[in-house]
């Protein structure tokens, strides 16, 4: 640090007014010559002293040593230099600093951080979300850690508590995401893609597809203000992305109500060009793809199915991560094309067909396992001998 140190000589500072200068006729102050201070016994009148000497305790005059005046000037200057070097304070934006709150007024709080003057925490920087009254949050006389936002043109430092809380909040969200726990959040707003949710003071987004509440219309505005459980899909502090999923929480609550190969009765929720969404009860829903409805060719789904139809479906698979259930009625058809011709028959024989399907699946799996083992043996044998019997390698 470049210090233009000009140790000033300890001369008597100019007192009174320089000659020739008139300052509204004020009396000039007499020059007081500067001397090394000595502690002299205080002045007392002789009479009192006489009385006092007999009775009162003697006056204690502190020695120069006690006052610390035993050091020479040069020693003191050396000490001063050392202290200046030791106490260099740097206030850079982004740094954390400990401060003692002096005063809280309407616009914010004044905090002593050891610099030239008090630093300031504006109301907006005091907490995440709305700050009703600064008095509620901060009390004068307490110490807290703050983050430096910037130094304004007058050299005053602006501090923020919000940023510390924000970084703490993100840290918590990361931990929650890692542990795959559910958090409670309040729905703040909706937009075209989904819901905007406040979790731990941070704004996150829950896409429409990840909303676990099943309904026909996508009017989510009723949810605004409600407290719901969410699981975290993605946390990224730098970009400020926080993706949430309500559906995952809902799915997990239902556990494995359905397994692959189960027949479930459901109600058609909505019909799309590519298939139909079936409400399977308990808040779960699955997609019955157009290709999975029947072995026969289907040109338009709405010819076969319409909303509010009660149908039986076979659960093909469940994607836990995405919360999707794939459904099928093709396998339930005793004869190909039955879904179009006679759905009732399909439903009657649904259990039967499902059992057949499960058997088929089991057999297929067994066969696959057997062939895999066979292949392993062949590979080992090939490794032992030079040539492979199949001539592949």
């Amino acid at each position: 640090m470049h210090v233009t140190a000009t140790p000033s000589p300890l001369v008597a500072p100019p007192r009174g007014l320089p000659p020739g200068l008139c300052f509204r006729g004020h009396q000039s102050v007499t020059l007081r010559t500067w001397t090394r201070p000595r502690r002299t016994p205080l002045h007392r009148s002789a009479a009192i002293t006489a009385v006092q000497e007999s009775a009162a305790p003697s006056l204690v005059v502190p020695s120069n040593e006690e006052l610390g005046l035993d050091k020479t000037e040069s020693e003191l200057y050396a000490e001063f230099d050392a202290l200046l070097d030791a106490n260099t304070l740097s206030f850079k934006s982004g740094e954390k600093v400990k401060g003692h709150i002096i005063q809280v007024d309407q616009k914010g709080a004044h905090v002593d951080v050891g610099g030239k003057s008090a630093a300031f925490v504006p109301n907006v920087e005091m907490a995440l979300g709305l700050v009703p009254r600064s008095n509620d949050l901060l009390d004068a006389g307490t110490s807290r850690e703050f983050v430096i936002v910037r130094q304004d043109h007058r050299g005053d430092i602006i501090l923020s508590l919000k940023r510390i809380q924000l970084s703490v909040a993100w840290q918590r969200l990361r931990q929650i995401a890692e542990s795959d726990a559910a958090v409670t959040g309040v729905v703040a707003a909706t937009n075209r893609g989904g819901l905007l949710v406040d979790v731990e003071g941070v704004r996150g987004f829950n896409p429409s597809s990840q909303i676990g509440i099943v309904r026909r219309t996508t009017n989510w505005e009723e949810l605004i203000g409600r407290h719901l459980q969410f699981k975290i899909l993605e946390v990224d502090e730098e970009t400020g992305r926080l993706m949430l999923s309500h559906r995952r929480v809902m799915n997990e609550e239902r556990l494995e109500t359905f397994k692959a190969g189960d027949v479930v009765e459901g109600r058609v929720m909505s019909v799309k060009p590519y298939g139909a969404f079936i409400d399977l009860g308990g808040g779960s829903s699955g997609l019955l793809h157009i290709s999975q409805i029947s072995s026969a060719r289907i040109t338009a789904v709405d010819r076969v199915l319409s909303p509010d139809d009660r149908i039986k479906v076979l659960v093909l698979s469940q994607d836990r991560d995405k919360g999707r259930i794939s459904l099928c009625t093709k396998k339930l058809e005793p004869a190909p094309g039955d879904m179009l011709k006679d759905p009732g028959l399909v439903y009657e024989r649904a259990e039967e067909m499902a059992a057949q399907y499960r058997a088929q699946i089991a057999a297929a799996e067994a066969a696959a396992r057997a062939s895999a083992e066979q292949l392993d043996l062949e590979v080992l044998a090939a490794g032992a001998g030079e040539a492979s019997p199949s001539g592949l390698y």
Binding site: M1, V3, T4, A5, T6, P7, S8, L10, V11, P13, P14, R15, G16, L17, H26, Q27, V29, R36, P37, R39, L42, H43, R44, A47, I48, V51, Q52, A56, L59, L67, G68, L69, E73, L76, Y77, E79, F80, L83, L84, N87, T88, I102, Q103, D105, H110, D112, G114, G115, K116, S117, A118, G155
Partner: protein
């Protein structure tokens, strides 16, 4: 009182170099971060000197007035002044508080009468609106004059925190010849002060440090003054009784 404590409280920080008052040159040690650094070694000596003066004046029975309206200083001023039985002004310094003392005294008397009336219960007899009006008036007086209550005459020593803000107070004291004690920052004028301490007046820690030292000095001086008064009384009683004795005989 150590140099270390003074530096840690931020006493050495001055204002930006462009904002200085050149008359402060003898007290400026150097520059750092574009700010002037005050010479705390001089402050150290001057402070020792000053504390001796304060104690001596208090022992002689002199009265002190603390003046400081900065938000860092205001609550500390009040606390210190009350603790050492002195007077204070920590809200706006009204023009003519000392030079127009007669008028201020009238306002103080008004405040006194308001207090008495409220306590005695006179106000309970009035109507609601009148009570509200009186309360407002009382609050207004209290705001500016609370620290000057019971001040019967002009103070002997005025301690000023923040010379640039309290320039009116400084000028009034000079006009009346009242001794002033001032904290000088790098933008202040040492010509206008009688006793001075070059120190950072913007830092709450500094003001606290200095005021507590002042308080200790004044209190110990007052203690001596009280002892002296008691001894004087004793002496007078002795004289009286001896006079009475001599009369009788």
């Amino acid at each position: 009182m150590k140099l270390e404590d003074m530096v840690q409280s931020g006493m050495h920080f001055g204002h930006f170099t462009s904002e200085w008052n050149p008359r402060m040159k003898p007290f400026i040690y150097g520059e750092r971060y574009g700010r002037h650094i005050l010479d705390l070694v001089q402050t150290y000596y001057l402070l020792n000197d000053l504390l001796g003066f304060l104690e001596k004046s208090a022992a002689q029975g002199k009265k002190f007035l603390f003046v400081g309206t900065k938000k860092q200083a205001a609550p500390l001023i009040e606390k210190t002044a009350i603790a050492c039985n002195s007077y204070y002004v920590n809200q706006r310094w009204l023009g003519g508080m000392l030079t127009n003392w007669k008028t201020i005294q009238q306002s103080l008397q008004q405040l006194q009468s308001f207090r008495k009336a409220e306590e005695s219960g006179e106000w309970d007899l009035l109507k609601k609106k009148e009570i509200a009006k009186k309360k407002r008036q009382k609050l207004r007086l209290e705001k500016n004059l609370a620290g000057l209550e019971n001040m019967k005459k002009l103070p002997d020593v005025v301690i000023i925190i923040g010379q640039s803000e309290e320039l009116n107070a400084v000028k009034e004291c000079r006009q009346l010849g009242i001794t002033t004690v001032t904290l000088l920052d790098s933008n202040c004028d040492p010509y206008l002060a009688d006793w001075y301490i070059p120190a950072n007046d913007d830092s709450a820690a500094t003001v606290k440090f200095l005021l507590s030292n002042f308080q200790d000095a004044i209190l110990s001086g007052e203690k001596i003054n009280n002892e002296n008064q008691q001894l004087l009384n004793v002496k007078q009683n002795i004289k009286k009784s001896s006079r009475i004795k001599s009369k009788k005989t």
